[in-house]
Symmetry: D2
Subunit: 138 residues, 4 copies
């Protein structure tokens, strides 16, 4: 799962800008989330429902390389590189006119809101990711 093949596109809005007149550093994580949600939707899930569990973020990281400004048209790529029994890692790139402006990852877990505990990644969820990532890279 080396390459990142899934992507969405969006345009930087005025409400994404901070007091420095560029996109605030936290909003890169909002862009990651837009891509993550679209990815999950693609394989039949949402952050609020992965085989009945919620998806939570255990860790988030972003490396910033270029500023983003109002009306910038950006592409957000994401893919899943690594899956463990209770955790999967999603990788992200934000690209503007062919240039990588930011790279990051999130470590995600499945959470049972009833039992209030982290659960193993559901088998069907793992299979769908493997199938999707496999096809994406075929």
């Amino acid at each position: 799962m080396d390459r990142i093949d899934f992507s969405i596109s969006l345009t930087v809005r005025v409400s994404d800008l901070n007091y420095g007149n560029h996109v605030g550093y936290q909003n890169f994580f909002s862009y990651f989330q837009e891509a993550r949600i679209a990815y999950l939707e693609k394989i039949g899930y949402s952050e609020l429902d992965i085989e009945g569990y919620g998806m939570i973020v255990g860790e988030a990281n972003c490396k910033y390389k270029q500023e983003l400004f109002l009306n910038d048209r950006i592409q957000i790529k994401c893919g899943i590189k690594e899956m463990k029994s209770k955790l999967f890692t999603m990788h992200y790139q934000i690209i503007k006119e062919g240039v990588i402006c930011a790279e990051g990852f999130t470590k995600n877990l499945c959470y049972d809101y009833q039992a209030k505990k982290v659960v193993r990644l559901p088998d069907r969820f793992i299979e769908r990711i493997q199938s999707f990532e496999g096809k994406a890279q075929a």
Copy 2:
């Protein structure tokens, strides 16, 4: 600079909540930023003016341990552990009723917006941090 001694307190607002009815993962970085700005102000600076330069974020990281909810009263600690010639690392903890809910860091750089390039950390800035962190830990 092992301990984190500077802190601010704030209350989780409804606009910090996401569609899952808890604080969105990107907003933990907003909380970090509130603390960072207060820290900089304490030593006479702002993100927009560090001896004439701007402060930018090169990398941001957060590990999430507990959810945060509406009206939660939280403490955000921050401190500077590491300084290199062009980069300093700020560490953060978000604490609710004595429990660490999140931990993270940002790597920060000084940026010359005129020349459009990263510059060495100004000597006076380094001195003020060392003086502040020294006192904080005395």
Copy 3:
């Protein structure tokens, strides 16, 4: 119900600022919402549960008189002036150092999310408001 007696206080955060380095006009409505939620909590309700119904906003209005800046300490007053069978009007003022910076109102309705329709304001809700506003003005 002429006077506005209920209020909360908060401090302008960096994430409230827009690209003009002052509080964005939409965020005044976020401040109104903070006060509205605190008011509802005071009388035993939340926006998500008013005798089993949700509270929705039918109209919102704000008149802006002064800019708000980072770290401004503001007071947000709110009260309910007018109640009809299906609608109540909440009034707001944002005050900084004794000066009114903004005034506005929201018209609010109770919504049955199951039946997907607006319902009459519950009697107990009306009574609690009348009791609270009466006491507030006694």
Copy 4:
């Protein structure tokens, strides 16, 4: 200037949702702002520069008719109906699949940030609006 002919389109993002899992009422004003900025850009201006002045909002109003949800594709129409010497009124509609979900207006002023006072609308600005609105309705 009766009809509203200028419009932009955008997709509701996850960060537009509030704790009720629909678009928060303040974010309708963010959508208005996106349209307003696009309109101003169309006639050669920005909120930060109208013949050297800034554009500020004196009043904002929105009437809500339908909820908006994640991934909703919406059209935001805007136009200028009324111009006085120091004030112009912009009207907005948010439309989803042909249905008006919200309507509102903002009253806008030109502000001299140096002199810290409201100024008359610049002649050239008035002319450009009249020309644009005239053409739009021809």
